[in-house]
């Protein structure tokens, strides 16, 4: 027994040690990184319909314009000759004023109020016109009773020209009250609810006050012409769509599907009466005909490739015409009119192709 045990032990030890070194980790598999291919199962009809995005498709329209970037247009200088600070105050965005208005509403009443109180009195007088401007800044909506002028000025401020100083030069030119009144127009253009409200009041008041209504209206018009709304920056309309490749619609698959061709073939076959006693092999005729969108023949079918046999040719032509009349026009998918407006039918005793 000992012999057997020793032999067996040695045998196992040998095999195990051999296995330790030889049966090491097997070589790991090579994993090829294959990207998965998305596969769509589509019917033949769908395949023939695919047109959108075809690279060689004719352009359906102009390519979408590239999005434009609005470049802020600098405002006209207000302090002429002052290179560094030609703007009376830092620029603000055109739309901000509205908010500013609301925000300011309470404030104006606090600080500038006293001034306003004085100026409204002076306002009616034509001379003080330049001054009214400052008042306009201050002028708060909540105080409608104040002179008409302050309101318009306010509006002007709203429109982003906060500084009263600027109006002065203009004011001088006309010499009259109207100047401030002209501005109110602007707010109309830039309508904000608050502005409208304000304007309604100013107008009523404006009519009452001494300044001549005629001049004011004229001024309004002039101002309206002069004070156009600022250019909005962008030129072309922006589009988020990508430049187009091919048609926009994908319904117009340009080819008839096999089943539609079969339908056409069946229609014609039903009307075809091949001349008897003619060798089938000679009977290959190609007939070309044009259809209008309702499926009616636009002109009598023409023989494109004659079989050499008049009877056969004529029978084929007749088949086309008979068929049209019998069916009141060929029944074909209207949306594919491009595909079947010009049809060539090969007549063959055994089969017909388009």
């Amino acid at each position: 027994m000992r012999v057997g045990l020793i032999t067996s032990g040695v045998l196992h030890a040998v095999i195990l040690t051999w296995g330790m070194f030889t049966l090491s980790a097997p070589k790991s598999f090579d994993v090829a990184d294959v990207e998965s291919l998305p596969v769509d199962l589509i019917t033949v009809a769908e395949l023939t319909q695919i047109q959108k995005g075809a690279k060689d498709a004719p352009k359906d329209g102009p390519s979408a314009p590239e999005p434009t970037v609005a470049v802020p247009t600098p405002k006209p200088a207000e302090n002429i000759g002052n290179k560094e600070r030609d703007q009376a105050a830092p620029e603000t965005e055109t739309q901000k004023p509205v908010e500013v208005d609301q925000a300011k509403l309470p404030k104006p009443s606090d600080t500038p109020a006293p001034e306003i109180a004085q100026r409204p009195d002076t306002a009616p007088e034509p001379a003080p016109k330049p001054e009214p401007v400052p008042t306009t800044e201050v002028a708060s909506i909540p105080e409608p009773p104040k002179d008409v002028q302050p309101d318009p000025v306010k509006d002007a401020i709203d429109t982003a020209e906060p500084l009263p100083a600027e109006p002065k030069p203009e004011a001088r030119i006309p010499d009259q009250v109207p100047v401030p009144s002209a501005r109110p127009e602007r707010p109309q253009a830039q309508t904000a609810k608050t502005n409208e409200r304000k304007q309604a009041e100013p107008r009523q008041q404006a009519s009452a006050p001494p300044p001549a209504p005629d001049s004011q209206s004229q001024e309004d018009q002039v101002a309206a012409l002069l004070n156009q709304e600022q250019a909005s920056g962008g030129g072309a309309q922006r589009s988020t769509e990508q430049a187009s490749l091919g048609g926009k619609r994908n319904t117009g698959g340009s080819e008839l599907t096999q089943s539609e061709m079969d339908a056409l073939r069946a229609q014609i076959q039903a009307c075809w009466n091949p001349p008897a006693a003619i060798d089938a092999g000679d009977l290959k005729v190609s007939i070309r005909f044009k259809l209008d969108s309702s499926g009616m023949l636009e002109e009598p079918p023409s023989i494109q490739k004659s079989s050499g046999n008049r009877a056969a040719d004529e029978s084929a032509r007749r088949a086309i015409m008979i068929c049209e009349q019998r069916n009141q026009g060929y029944k074909l998918p209207a949306e594919k009119y491009d595909a079947w407006r010009d049809v060539v039918v090969n007549f063959d005793p055994s089969e017909m192709f388009r």
């Binding site: 027994m1 045990l5 020793i6 049966l23 090491s24």
Partner: protein, 242 residues
């Protein structure tokens, strides 16, 4: 509870690494299977050698037995040494024979049956030693796969628990634990397959040896019974002559 570490992806997967990474139970199973394999091979080698020796001894004994040598002499030469196999049968039969005649047994029929019985006992004793440990091979062959399977199941169980803990189902995380668990089944099969084959081979050999011994026992019994008859006649004739 101690967390069962999963073999990190890409770690060593050699035989030794697999064994070391295995859990306690799986290790125990694998060691047990290894021991079983060692022992079953030891049994097979031992038995093969023993059967070869026995076959040669049978041949030698039969040669001398049929060489015409006196049975008394043969018995004397064998009785001293510890005879095995056919020798043991022969010695047992001769001992019974001699005892009976030396004490003057007179009944040939009972002598015959006593000799047969003595040889049966000797034969069964011999067969016992011949077939000893063959049962071990049979049980290794039958149970080692199950033991290995047990190790695998435990290993996979623990490795799944570890996978659940690691919160990753990446195959690279799953695979090492399963591979090391499968090693247990592999070891079970490695132990079981040779054991089964060896068991079949050795039990066939043992059956051959047994039939040879039985044949010898029958032949020897026939020879002895002839002798008994002759002696009975010889003793009866003088009486009749007298």
């Amino acid at each position: 509870m101690e967390q069962i570490g999963l073999a990190a992806p890409g770690s060593e997967l050699s035989l030794w690494a697999l064994f070391i990474q295995a859990g306690f139970v799986v290790k125990l199973v694998m060691l047990g299977l290894l021991a079983a394999s060692v022992w079953s091979w030891a049994v097979m080698i031992d038995k093969t050698l023993a059967y070869g020796r026995m076959r040669r001894a049978f041949n030698r004994f039969e040669d001398t037995f049929w060489s015409g040598q006196s049975l008394e002499e043969l018995y004397r030469s064998l009785a001293d040494s510890k005879a095995a196999g056919m020798g043991a049968l022969f010695v047992a039969a001769m001992r019974e024979w001699k005892k009976s005649f030396e004490r003057g047994a007179r009944s040939p029929m009972s002598l015959q049956s006593r000799i047969d019985r003595a040889m049966d006992v000797a034969l069964s004793r011999e067969m016992e030693s011949v077939e000893s440990r063959l049962g071990y091979l049979a049980s290794v062959g039958a149970s080692a796969p199950f033991i290995g399977l047990f190790g695998t199941v435990v290993g996979i169980m623990t490795s799944f628990q570890a996978i659940a803990g690691s919160e990753s189902t990446n195959l690279a995380v799953v695979a090492p634990g399963i591979a090391e668990a499968l090693l247990a089944t592999a070891l079970g099969l490695v132990a079981a397959i040779p054991a089964v084959i060896g068991y079949n081979k050795l039990s066939a050999d043992a059956a051959k040896l047994a039939s040879r011994m039985e044949a010898f026992a029958d032949e020897f019994s026939a020879i002895l019974s002839r002798q008994i008859d002759e002696r009975a006649n010889a003793s009866a004739r003088p009486q009749a002559a007298e």
